[in-house]
Assembly symmetry: C2
Homo-oligomer: 359 residues x 2
Amino acid sequence: MKLDEFFKQPNEWMRGEGPDSVIVVSSRVRLARNLRGFAYPGRSKKDDRTKVLEVLNAAFLQMPELKKVFSESLDNLSPIDKQILVERHLISREHAAKGVGSGVIINEGETISVMINEEDHIRMQALHGGLQLKSVFRAIDKLDAELEQLVDYDFSERFGYLTACPTNVGTGMRASSMLHLPGLVLAEQINPVIQAVNKLHLAVRGLYGEGTEAMGNLFQISNQTTLGEKEQDIVERLNKVIHQIVEHEINARASLTEKRPQMVADQIGRAFGILTNAHILTSKEALNLLSLIRLGLDLEMFQHLDRAAVDELFILTQPAHLQRSVEKKLSPEERDSRRAELVRKKLHKARRTEGGAQN
Amino acid sequence: MKLDEFFKQPNEWMRGEGPDSVIVVSSRVRLARNLRGFAYPGRSKKDDRTKVLEVLNAAFLQMPELKKVFSESLDNLSPIDKQILVERHLISREHAAKGVGSGVIINEGETISVMINEEDHIRMQALHGGLQLKSVFRAIDKLDAELEQLVDYDFSERFGYLTACPTNVGTGMRASSMLHLPGLVLAEQINPVIQAVNKLHLAVRGLYGEGTEAMGNLFQISNQTTLGEKEQDIVERLNKVIHQIVEHEINARASLTEKRPQMVADQIGRAFGILTNAHILTSKEALNLLSLIRLGLDLEMFQHLDRAAVDELFILTQPAHLQRSVEKKLSPEERDSRRAELVRKKLHKARRTEGGAQN
C-alpha cells in the first residue's frame, strides 16, 4: 500500500462522524512499550535500532488488523510526507525528525498507527472520530495483547510497563479526546474549564499535543498519570470529564445564541466573509475561522455547505497537505495564497441562511 | 425649506462627481468675517449675539444664491440634527454645541453653508465634489462681495479681515480638499507625503478637521497661513500640491497592483467579506472598510455595485445619520447592529469580479 492512497479520501475521524462528534472531534489511546534486552531508542546504536525495527515490523505485519497497511522506514520518507503524517495525527513531530532505524505502520482508514523507535521502541495508537474512548481503548488493548504473544515486553512486577520517560511508566497509556469548544471560547468560559480539568490531573493541550498552542478552538484533553490507576479506570474517568465538558459547551452555545445572538452571527458572519474572500490566509487564521464556520454549521446558519468538507479543510489547509496537493514545495507566501484559493473554492457554493449577506 | 428635505437624497459632493473625484472627494473654501461694532461671539452677551444673528440672517436671505435655503437658530435644532450637519461637513463640531444666538444657513444642494456666531460672527463656506478649489473659491468670493455691500465688515488696512483667532487674520480663508488615499496608506508611503506637505506650510487633517483622526484613508489638506499671501495665490498653491498628491496616489496604486496584486486583492476581498457579513460594525471600522471597497471600485474589482451608493455609505453609516434613518435615538450597540444591517443591504447585490469568492 502506498502513501498516496491514504490521501485520496479523508480518513475515518476526519469525516466528522461518531458519537458526540459535533463537539468531540476524535478520541485516541496510545500505548508506550519497550522490548526487553534492547537499549531504548534514545541511547541505542543504529544497528540495535534497525534490529528492533525488523523484529517489530515482522510481528506487527502478521496481525489480522494490520493486513492492509502502509509500512515504511522513516529514512525513506520525504520531509513533506512525514509532515503529512504529523498533520493527520499519525506520528508525533518528534518522530518526523527521525531517520534510519525508525519506522511507521498505519492501517487502512488510519484508525491504527504505530511509531517504532520514537522515544520508546513502540508507540501504538488507535484513533476514531467522536467520543469513543472505550472502543478505542479496546482496539489498542487487543493489539497490545496480540503483540505480547509475539515479543518480550520490558515489564516490572512493581512498576508495570517500563518506558524511556518516567511519566509514562505503569500503564504506558495516554488516552485523549480532541474537543471543539468555540462556545466556551466565545463565552470567555474556557479558562475556568481548563483550570477545573487540570485540578483533576488531566492535561489540556493544543491541536498538536504537548507544548502546542490551542488553534481553531480545538483542545486535547488527556490523562496525565500512568501509575497507580488501571487502564479502564483512567478511560472511565476521562470519559466522564469529557461528557461534562461537552455539557458545558452545549450550555455555552445555548446561552450565547439566546443572550448574544448578534455577537454570534457577527463572529460567524465575519469568518465566512473572510474565508470566502481572502487571498492570503495563514494556517493559524484558517483554523480559527474554520472553527467558527463549524460552529455556524452546528447552529444551522449555512446552506449548501457540507460538514465533512469543512472538517476536511481543517487538515487540507495545513502546510504539508497544501504542498502535497500541488506536488511541490511552496514558500510560506505561496502557501498562504494557495490556502486562500483552496478555501474559497471549497466554500464557494455555501450561503448563510440567517441574517446574512443574502437578506 | 425643512431639514428633512436635505436628507432625502445625497448632496452634491456625496455623489462623488467632479474633476479628479476618484481621489479628491471634495473641495471647500471657507471665509471668516466679523461685523464692526459688535463684540465677537466668544465675549458677546446673548442680546448682542441675537442682534448679529438677525442682521446677518436678513442680509444673507436676500441674496440670489440663497433663495431656497434651510435657515435655523441652533437652539431650535435637536442634538441629532446638529450632529447630522456635522457629519455632512456643513457645520463644525464646535458650532453644534451652540444654542441661542447662533444660526445656520444652508442652500439647496448644500454647496453653500453659513455658520453665524461660531468662533467668528460669520463662517461661510462653499463645498463641491472633486478637485475644484478655484470654482469653489469663486463661489464664496462672490457671496462675500455681495455681503460686503450689505454689512460693515471688521477690516484693518494693515492686517486685512479681523478674526477672533489670530491664525485666521488676513484673508480669513481656509481652503481645503478631502483626499482618498488608500494606495499611499497600503504602500506605507503616506507618512513621507504628509511630512512633505507639512513642510509646505499646509496642514493634513482627518475626516472632521482639526484634531480628528484619519479614518477611511481620508485626508484633508488645507492652507495653514492666512496672512501675507493673496487668496488666489493660496488656492493656486494648494491646488498644485493636491495635483501632486493625486499623482503620488495614482502611482502608488499602479505599483501595488503590479507588484503586490495578492495583497491588494486580499485587503479588498476581506473588506468586502466583512462588510457583507458582519452583524456588528462601528463607524470607524465601516469607514476603513468602505475605503477599501471604494479602491476596489476604482480598480474595477466589483460588479453590480454603484459608486454613488458606496460614497453615500460613508455618510449614512455615521451615528446621527443612522439614528435619523430609524427616527429614534439608539445606543452605541444598537447603532453598530443597524449599521451592519444597512451596509449588508446596500452591498447585497455586489459581486467581486476578479479572483473572488465566485471563482
